[in-house]
Symmetry: C5
Subunit: 328 residues, 5 copies
């Protein structure tokens, strides 16, 4: 889908701009043109980017063919910025980064992405409704777009935080292989998150600090503000990663403890019953049968009383011995 909006001096937007009119719109130095490619095929995108906007072939290749970590390239009369929009589904535990390629010139913004991005959609609509989105040039529009992206990042981060808290409880209650699977899925999610946030932070740092002629010095303070958001997001992502690591360690400790308890019980039972089982077997031997020689007295009443005493005493003594060694 290829769509465009155009405003002259922040006036009401022209949303029915056909592709042929782009070049004309670009000539209006007081206008602001926003062209958005969503899921457009390379074959359809390339001619527009090349022939109308005259972007460098390598920049176009970056935008339409390849997957990138966030970065910003200065092509003198325009900036090429690769960003990530977050798409997190808490139920499935799946974190997807949607690449958003932005070309920003003095009076235009070109956005290119394969999948729909809710944050961009919200800014697109605000551009139509809200004068403030149209009035302050392409650099401020870029700021508003990036600021909106952080909202979704924040939300995803909070959901991941909740999920970790949920699993943390589960670990102490009923840990099994599914818990392991979820912990490792979360670990991948936090790694993925951190890997995207770190270069995005760098991009915003550059936009806030460097002297790109396209970015008004007055607007730089806004980018610094978004940069601070990303510093904080990165910080939280680090915390989340540490928390997931902690959950995994806890899980291993809990499983270990449980195994320990099981082993103690096994040992206790074995230790209590093995000696007296042997004794029962002993008196079941045929040496003490009526026919055998002279050993009948071993199965007399006094022997029986002694045996019963051993049967009752052995477990009690064993139990105290075990307690003294501190196992129970």
């Amino acid at each position: 889908m290829l769509r465009a909006q155009f405003t002259h001096k922040g006036g009401p937007p022209d949303i029915s701009l056909s592709q042929e009119k782009y070049a004309q719109a670009l000539e209006d130095s007081e206008g602001l043109l926003w062209v958005d490619f969503q899921g457009e095929s390379p074959e359809a995108s390339e001619p527009v980017l090349l022939d109308i906007f005259h972007f460098h072939p390598l920049a176009i290749e970056d935008a339409i063919y390849q997957t990138h970590v966030p970065k910003v390239d200065d092509w003198e009369s325009y900036l090429y910025i690769a960003l990530h929009a977050i798409a997190y589904e808490a139920q499935a535990g799946e974190l997807e980064m949607i690449e958003l390629d932005v070309f920003m010139g003095a009076n235009y913004l070109v956005t290119h992405h394969d999948l729909p991005i809710p944050a961009l959609e919200r800014v697109w609509e605000s551009f139509q409704r809200d004068e403030r989105y149209r009035k302050q040039g392409a650099d401020h529009l870029l700021y508003l777009l990036v600021d909106e992206l952080t909202v979704d990042f924040m939300k995803a981060v909070e959901e991941i935080d909740e999920e970790i808290g949920f699993i943390e409880d589960q670990v102490f209650e009923k840990p099994d292989n599914k818990t392991v699977k979820r912990i490792f899925a979360l670990k991948q999610v936090t790694l993925h998150l951190r890997r995207s946030l770190s270069p995005t932070r760098e991009v915003l740092n550059k936009l806030a600090r460097d002297d790109y002629p396209m970015i008004d010095s007055r607007d730089r303070v806004y980018f610094r503000d978004v940069y601070d958001h990303f510093v904080r997001l990165h910080d939280i992502a680090e915390s989340l990663r540490d928390m997931v690591g902690g959950v995994l360690d806890t899980y291993l400790s809990v499983v270990n403890n449980r195994m320990n308890d099981v082993m103690k019980t096994l040992t206790l039972i074995t230790t209590l019953f093995m000696p007296i089982s042997f004794l029962a077997g002993f008196f079941g031997m045929n040496f003490f049968q009526p026919v055998s020689a002279g050993l009948m007295s071993w199965t007399d009443n006094p022997s029986f009383i002694i045996s019963m005493g051993i049967f009752l005493l052995t477990p009690v003594l064993m139990y105290y011995w075990i307690r003294r060694r501190g196992w129970m």
Copy 2:
């Protein structure tokens, strides 16, 4: 709660300053105005900050809406500083960081926080009682406030240290799942602490080094002193983290050792009794019954004496064999 104190040339403070008089107080270049917002709603705070103090909207947004890692922003005629006050409850093992936003201008200090901060309260009271708190300008007042914050950090760090020592003892005595829970809670606490101390240290480094016009060069040495405190705090926090890590490793080793002991006992008991139980079972077979053919002699007296020998010798031999392999 919104409250203010004003002093002219360090004189006795006017503590009943109404909101309308703030603007007038700000015009007194030899005065010192301290306005404190505690748990005030954004709706009530924003107009004061915007209309009376004329702070930048982004700085106000930082202060009243958002949660931040400690940072310092230079807005030319004033500094915006985000700090953390610590709130640690040793019993619950809960560490909370209360955000404290400070705006510092040439002759005023504006503090904003959602929860009450004991350290700030102490400085607020000293400001009324003690002339030295009023005489040396807004930058020195800021120093006194930050210095007071470190006192609570120091105290929390000591409590955490004690708690670790306590758990360390417990690990060697009677470790269970509760011990694991406490260790992991402490791990989170130390991580949290470190994550807050690290940027706070940076903020104080900047205040001590950079040339902010609001900070008198004479006062910079005081900020360097607080900076040294935070360097030390950060250092201790690192130690605490390592110690918690050590406690966890110890715990796993102790549990492992205990398991080992349990297994050895199980094996010992099984090894001692299995062979002689079999023998008892052997002589309980019906082959040696009166009716059966020719095997009666197997249950004669000599056999019995030999069997008894085996019953007594087997455990002894087994025990020595096990000892020789070094298990006991």
Copy 3:
């Protein structure tokens, strides 16, 4: 194998250039000579490099005798660049790095490698067929060669990614020693990959940034593009390494869990049968034989019914006790 191609002003290449004509070709400042040594012995290569191209003995030694991490050396009138071509066999899990030594001068490119490199082969053929490969000088030809190398890196990285996914599934299904072997082989592969990508990235960074006179400033943007590819490759390699680490942790957790299950069953069975086995042994003792004194009533019918009750009740009670402790 020693072979050469020569083009004058990007015209059709002369592919039958004998060794004697190299010096002459080098004098044509508008020509472009590409000489390729493949698996040539040092004795055969050295004189050509030394006498015709006049390379520094140390640079020649680097190229023909030694194995290097990727690097770039500036020898004033030419660059010596050591690169790696990847050779990954997914089935065997073997990753080989083939060293590719490149000398780049104003109007020539000398490549030296011991094993055939498919990417180089593809560029060699394109040079013959495609005018664009011949027209833009040695630096652009170097770019095309490096760009082609990244294609193979990308492919290998994808295959490793798939392999990891495959093993991840296996870990949850049927982990054994072979799984361990494959995980550790993959770990070595990702380490190897990262170790090669990291310096290669640096080489391209230098080619894109530094002012080597041999590299046209117009072409620097192309090297920046390849540099971005390697940044991304390095990033993916990091992810892969983390994923392999995660798989190993998962493996250990799964094995641990499985062991736990096995132990629980063992304990359950032992706990259920040991007490009743003892009881059976107890009533098998010869105290209750017809001939023995007065204890016959112990084997009366009421005793039997009570015993049967115990036989049935004990396992049931044991089972509930175990469940209550949360082991099953």
Copy 4:
């Protein structure tokens, strides 16, 4: 204890200098005054430091009230240096760092510490006996003091090294909970050591490199020498930490191996005796009693011979089966 030594032009020291004479001694620009506070109360120290030496209140606070990581502060006419003296007791495995605060001016040295420091004591005595300690000014005296501190560090490091070697042997022989305790105590010791050495190294780096006017450029080479010592000490401390880590890993592997051996024995015994115990029990059933119907032949002589064969064969077969699986 407060004591002082004074020398004029390196002449014989005046060791009976009363507190009142300090000011006078300081005025002698060719003299060298060394004042040492040992375990002096803050109340007693502060006036001397403040009124006689005129140190900055913050520097005094650093010295007498607070605990610091090693650092150096430049107060223009003097340096404040916080250092650590090591106190290691090998038997108890306790490592203590004694803070040594030094103020160094053009012609004086003030040292402040709570506990006695043997290294300082040695230098104090040499100052009285040995002319070379008095002749080269305060900066050289500081060098001699720091150099003496390294001697104790070196000794402690060697003792720790020996202790690690001793425990390493123990781990392979008879590891128990006490071994774990000692390993973790050593881990803390090496962490503690490293944490102190790292900032001390920085202090000496500054003294050797920076242009403090109090330090003669001729003496800087001596501080570089001590700096090299601390680089090496830090390096050894790193090694020690790695070695302790290795000992812990070894310990866990050894315990694991031992557990494995124990389990194998348990399994072997159980596997050998369970089947034949069942068989013995089988032939002990009352089905084969004289009175029962037609099953008497099961306990005939041929059956007995077959049973005996099974009794002898089963363990042998089991044993070979276990061997073939590679467990013994």
Copy 5:
């Protein structure tokens, strides 16, 4: 042993130079003097270094008394360089670093070491035989010496690599405590290696980059070459360390797996035989004796057939149940 060689303008070396002639040789600015101290006592070395070469006392102390990490000190008219020669014995798994102290002036080289160094011996002999070693000044001789040292490093690194491969195989075959010992010995070796290579690399980096007047700019390219060797060596050492870490992890996984197998067998055997052993015991009770009341029918032929069925069916059912849970 103290020995010396002298050459004038690269002419045949004078190898019988007595100690008294050193000073004279040093005055020949076109000569080249190489003095080697091997295992010489400090008492014998110090006067030569101090009185003839006039080295700084600290530099001499570094050379003859102390152990150092590799470093280079610029003493204006000469360089002091501490290097390591490697001595690795594969059989014993012992890695020793022999310190080699070098003083390099404009026309002399002084080497000092406690133990014989084969690499130095080889260069010493080449100096006598080969004119190229004598002709290019002290800096080139130093290069030749360092280059020769790398040969031994390379060899040691290869032997360690082989050793790791050997142990890796052993881990999958027959791991025991000896394997653990060898793995940890190798770990120490790789740590030791890395710790020596890292500063050596820095030393060569300095020699290749910095402007030491003693090093001819023409020779700097040779030091850069050796520097590249050490970069590579360091890189391999890192790989080796990772490989040893991998071997240890593999070892633990293999032992864990083995334990798992053993436990499964134990559980299988116990699970198969415990129920039927109980049943055998059950029918061995005296309730079913001829004299007891009315229970004789329990040992009738039909009961026997049912019991035999249970004896045969129980293990089969148990086995299938276990298989279904995926343990075998």
